[in-house]
Symmetry: C2
Subunit: 312 residues, 2 copies
């Protein structure tokens, strides 16, 4: 049993499973019916929170009015499940406008990735988070996603940002493959930030290991499209059944391999299209959907690895 | 003398110096007066073309209406100098909208960098350029800027895109430090694309070497703010005075060092602010201007290296 059971002071809002639904498009417009369906599936599966307009929700590609509408729909259809909303943009004034819209829609928290075109300095990034926390009345989640933002967060940068009042959680990009090293990594990050800051793992392939290594939450791509599966892994990890969490994750290795090869977004979009919960192709151009060969592999993985685990 | 004097079929529009003015902001709005002043300086200095809304023009941070206004102002105040306009965006439909606005404003060509948030495949990039060329009636310049777009262009990808009707020029990110290798590099790229495609060097530190290695043009950051200097280097290279071009560039090494350290945009913004042609701080947040120590170095370089070369 991992010796990680120290008493934590992270608010329950920032623990457990946060599901990231796609924002499916249809002929370059938000497919609201499909988005609502995805949100309702997440809520029905009992996820702990829903994050609309994450990277999986294509926030970076959507206009202000589209994003405001998506935030409203998410809150409206999530029932009692709290909704977090992604607010990132290249320009600080746009980020602040998105934050305002998300709060007006009823977001329980804001998710902010420091998008970049020109490379950002640490001071740029800290100032951006300071501007958002100073003008927002709901908590802010720091979104560390180097593959899309090209910003490198160091523990020291986490620490500077986490000092800001209003910062609640950090979405970290993954943990080392070895369980002991993973535990050490998470514990090292804990030392860099105040006690109340939640640490949430992302990169679905890392999720079971991350939760078992002491992460408070899982910011989950598959949680938005295959929510029962993500709930099962999360509950196993939270409720003292580490072998079950690891076993479920291991059986999904063919899915993680597809994620590594094509990026999780294109794969999960293909899954949603195969399940009939989004129309093909639901991603914003220039992002093409997977080609026929990759879609055939997705279908195989769905049938061989995912379907046997979906118990209903 | 470099043995590069083969007859070329590149249209004159895509040869010589293209100057990239800043789009200065003032309290988060485009400072139109300052932008117009920069455009007029470029035209008066005799640059061969002006590229509005390049990376130096902060296109990625500006809204559609702001970009349309900037394109109109550039054409209106450039006199006889042709104006190219940057149209990049994360979403293809936005790129097409910008292309439409730029053409309505009177752009002589469109400059397109494949901006990315999710990593793009080569097929994504080719389709993006195909969509733009198919719907535009002016030539398109391929903007290869890996530091900001995180797209890696191979010669093969250049070749695929350059086949599209309407592609006129490729803005390449630099050339090798050794003059012979630089010539070989440019000649290798020539072999990858049709004869009529212009190759333009960028990365100002590479410009003299790139022109002498056979590039048709220089897409120039300093051309937008210190246009006489860029004209002098370009004419020396074009008119058979290679030593003079190299000497001018070598004397600007302290400036290239600042570019390497802070990025050319922040440095050239500080220069514009010191020259009084833009108000401080003229960059879109979250991009902070240089700090006091770096500004002092910029002032030293302006006084010690730039001023002695500005002959008027």
């Amino acid at each position: 049993m991992p010796p990680v059971a120290e008493p934590r002071v992270v608010p329950p809002l920032f623990t457990g499973l946060s599901a990231f639904p796609l924002t499916p498009l249809r002929q370059d417009r938000v497919d609201e019916r499909s988005f609502v369906h995805l949100v309702e599936r997440c809520a029905a599966a009992g996820v702990d929170s829903i994050t609309a307009l994450g990277s999986t929700g294509s926030y970076a590609y959507l206009h202000r009015d589209e994003r405001a509408a998506v935030a409203r729909l998410a809150v409206e259809h999530a029932g009692q499940t709290p909704v977090f909303v992604g607010i990132g943009a290249l320009r600080t004034s746009d980020v602040l406008a998105h934050a305002e819209d998300a709060q007006a829609a009823g977001a329980a928290a804001l998710l902010l990735a420091p998008m970049s075109y020109q490379p950002l300095t640490d001071d740029d990034v800290v100032d951006l988070f300071a501007a958002v926390t100073a003008s927002s009345s709901v908590p802010v989640i720091v979104y560390d996603n180097p593959g899309t933002t090209h910003v490198t967060f160091t523990p020291e940068l986490y620490g500077r940002i986490a000092q800001l009042p209003g910062i609640a959680s950090i979405k970290i990009p993954g943990v080392p493959p070895d369980p002991d090293e993973a535990r050490e990594h998470v514990s090292g990050l804990r030392d860099a930030v105040p006690e109340h800051i939640g640490l949430g793992v992302s990169g679905d392939a890392h999720a079971a290991r991350g939760l078992l290594a002491g992460c408070d939450s899982w910011y989950s791509v598959i949680g938005g499209t295959l929510p029962e599966l993500a709930v099962a892994i999360t509950r196993a990890a939270q409720q003292g059944r580490p072998e079950e969490a690891q076993e479920l994750s291991a059986r999904l290795q063919p899915l993680w391999d597809l994620f590594a090869e094509h990026g999780s977004l294109r794969v999960v979009a293909a899954i949603a299209e195969q399940l009939g919960v989004a129309e093909r192709s639901c991603l914003p151009l220039p992002l093409r959907g997977l080609d026929a060969a990759a879609r055939a592999r997705v279908a195989d993985v769905m049938e061989g690895s995912v379907a046997p685990l979906c118990l209903h």
